[in-house]
């Protein structure tokens, strides 16, 4: 806080505008970053945050507007020039090379031509001095997401930047790893460096940021001191109106209810050298309950979802049981016919065929389960029945679109996700398994989807939600289990679960050990 009193702006942005086709992603954005401050950039998905920082880092070219660096007008034509100015960036979607070592990855972004061994030694020393230990010889493909982010940060710091841009840095970290990151950021601030911090986690922003700029639909809608705001008031600025809170009705009689989805000693060998094996997973999801699976990305959640949904079949048919029957040997359609529904993480290409209409996507996933309704005699498709069912889902989920029946790729991520979730909910499935239900979905739509999942469970279905968003899991789950390195912990009832307990499990603490230390602490 003390360093930014001299009023010198390291970076000033005036009227920066970027237009993609008919969409104005950034509309005359103004932004000032002082020396030695942590400046938050807030906004919902699609508000233009990423577009703005890409222009600051030279990977996108603005249509109009000016950027001042230390008071001088600059044109940042490419990332190389941004680095030369002293701008470093830690990307949201990592820009690492999996087949190379950490040291090689770091060397690629330094242009000084020093040998890899020198760079490795420097990286090791720097990483330990900031308390982010790193083995430069390790292969990136073998590292956890948290460790990969350390490489990104060390790589950025080795360039000795004046301004560090961090795009959603904590979305892949455990709460404890995030604390470590905040210490690093505060140390950097005390060294006089400026930080542009992008996040949608408002508690974090309140904790470490000095000032905030809020974007909505590509426009700056406000500046504030986050410490003087509440999370609710910040959210209101971002969304533009109140976000309806999710209501979790008490679950009654869950203890005696039938398990509808049973996972018994599910194991799986790693499919590729860089993927995670599943280790003896056991879980029951009973009628009426929502179970959440937390975990840092890349700990086997994707592999687990594939095994449960039937994208990958199991040797042991009893390792996945749906409504009391073995389903491990059945494919996706077979499991759907038993009353299960699945929503994968990847929307385009996995959850929906991008170049096909919504009604066609509906038919693709439900031609078997709703064969009588959608397919007539001789395999002829009943277009009208499908069209009206699609319209029913669009209405129920409040999907916003530009045409009556657009292609899936034409929808924004949040709206497509609402349609995909709605498509499965519309069947009233007995078992629903969702991977990252609200990833990249704006706050309003996310609340809608979460509420719908809770209501499905309360109407007597078993709901399993895999998510990296701890806030979300605490909002909707009756119990939370944690996946770490391919193994699943015992589910903790929500009344016993705390951020700290779950965080320790996410970091790999032994379940028994974690509980013990917390009880004594």
């Amino acid at each position: 806080m003390s360093a930014n009193q001299d009023g010198a702006n390291l970076l000033e942005v005036r009227g920066l505008t970027k237009i993609f086709g008919t969409l104005t992603a950034c509309d005359h954005v103004d932004l000032n970053i002082a020396k030695g401050e942590i400046h938050a950039l807030l906004g919902e998905n699609g508000a233009g945050k990423s577009t703005l920082v890409k222009m600051l880092f030279g990977s996108l070219e603005p249509n109009s507007g000016e950027i001042f660096w230390n008071g001088q007008v600059v044109r940042i034509a490419n990332p190389g020039f941004a680095k030369k100015l002293g701008i470093g960036m830690v990307f949201q979607h990592f820009s690492l090379f999996e087949a190379l070592t950490a040291a090689e990855n770091i060397a690629l972004s330094l242009d000084d031509g020093s040998p890899i061994s020198t760079i490795a030694a420097k990286a090791r020393a720097l990483s330990y001095s900031y308390g982010l230990p790193l083995d430069p010889e390790s292969l990136v493909g073998d590292l956890s997401v948290g460790e990969r982010q350390r490489i990104e940060i060390i790589r950025c710091l080795l360039q000795t930047p004046q301004l560090i841009i961090l795009d959603e840095p904590t979305s892949v970290l455990t709460p404890q790893e995030a604390d470590k990151l905040f210490e690093t950021l505060e140390r950097l601030r005390s060294e006089g460096k400026s930080i542009l911090y992008i996040s949608h986690r408002l508690e974090e922003v309140k904790r470490i940021c000095d000032r905030a700029t809020v974007l909505r639909h590509g426009k700056v809608v406000g500046h504030c001191n986050p410490r003087e705001e509440t999370a609710a008031s910040l959210a209101r600025m971002m969304v533009g109106n109140e976000v309806k809170a999710v209501v979790r009705a008490p679950a009654e009689g869950i203890e005696t209810a039938q398990p509808l989805l049973e996972i018994r000693a599910l194991s799986r060998k790693p499919a590729t050298p860089f993927s995670i094996p599943l280790k003896n997973i056991n879980l029951n999801v009973r009628a009426g309950e929502v179970i959440g699976i937390a975990g840092v990305a890349g700990n086997g959640q994707g592999e687990f979802f594939e095994s449960v949904s039937g994208e990958v079949l199991q040797q042991d048919t009893a390792s996945v049981r749906i409504r009391g029957k073995d389903a491990g040997g059945l494919g996706i359609t077979g499991r759907r016919l038993m009353g299960a529904a699945f929503v994968p993480e990847e929307r385009l290409g996995h959850g929906a065929a991008p170049r096909m209409k919504l009604s066609e996507n509906l038919l693709l996933s439900r031609h078997a389960t709703d064969g009588k309704v959608f397919v007539g005699a001789g395999g002829m498709v009943k277009s009208e029945a499908i069209y009206s069912a699609a319209q029913r889902i669009i209405k129920a989920m409040d999907v916003r679109k530009s045409a009556p029946d657009p292609e899936a790729a034409a929808l924004s991520g949040g709206n497509l996700q609402k349609f995909i979730v709605g498509r499965e909910l519309d069947r009233k499935p007995g078992v629903m398994v969702v991977n990252q239900p609200t990833w990249g979905v704006d706050a309003g739509a996310a609340a809608h989807i979460r509420q719908a999942l809770i209501e499905l469970a309360r109407s007597g279905s078993a709901v399993l939600v895999i998510s990296q968003d701890l806030d979300e899991l605490f909002e909707i789950s009756d119990s939370i289990a944690v996946m770490h390195n391919g193994a699943l912990s015992r589910p903790l009832p929500i009344a016993e679960a705390t951020f700290e307990k779950i965080g320790l499990l996410m970091g790999g603490a032994e379940p028994g050990h974690a509980e013990h230390t917390l009880e004594t602490a």
Binding site: S59, G80, A82, A99, A107, G141, P273
Partner: protein, 306 residues
Amino acid sequence: MDITVNILLTIATAATPLLIAAIGELVVERSGVLNLGVEGMMIMGAVGGFGAGYLTGSPWIGLLAAIALGALFSLLFAVMTLSLATNQVATGLSLTLLGLGLSGMMGTSFVGQPGQRLPNLDIPGLTSLPVVGRLLFGQDPIFYISIALTAAVMWFLFKTRTGLTLRSIGDSHTSAHALGIHVIRYRYLAVIFGGACAGLAGGHLSLVYTPQWVENMTAGRGWIALALVVFASWRPWRVLAGAYIFGAVWIGQLHAQAFGIPVPSQLLSSLPYLATVVVLVLISRNKRLTMMNTPASLGQPFVPDR
């Protein structure tokens, strides 16, 4: 003894064009570009090399012409796939078809003409040493180039910063772009290098192997070179091993046919392909190593958003 030396010499001559074309394509694919036009660039090198040698009377000018024509032809591929972001598979295939047709047309007047042959190396004293003399010191110049090229590419890819950058582009062109690496520039240079190598390999066919011009004289060698790169899991020394195994079995089965071994000739002719695939698959069993060496962005067009 003399027979053994002769057989070894013919093996080297059969393996050299495969090795050169494959090493060039290896560099191209390491940068993430799949150029299926090796056969086309090779035949252009062959006709260019023969033609320039025949018209000027100097096989050395022929050699340079072969390299230049291969590189020029690959430039066409580079402009299409890198600047205009066309589909690499389709463009590569059409490059092969175009090369085969164009070379046939260019070479009509060369058919049946005597060609120029690059002289073998002859170092007084050394070349006349028994056995090793002719093997080590008496081969054609392109043989030495091929070995040096393999070593140089190995050193470049795994020991230099530029080589590391090239490999990183092949692993993820979006990450490389985000770091400020000029993806397209590197790929242009890699593709042109690959073209020059394919041209040189073609030149070897028409200036050393059989110093004459015959239509379609590459006879599928470009395709074998492409397959070698994949089966060798994008590693230079394995490409060298693969090329020599292929050459050895190829020459071996020719001798077997000449001896009249009672095995159908078609089966013998297929042996080199079979043996090469089996050996290279066996040495590529380590899935982890293969994964590390496979260029993950191979064949994907790259269009940076601005």
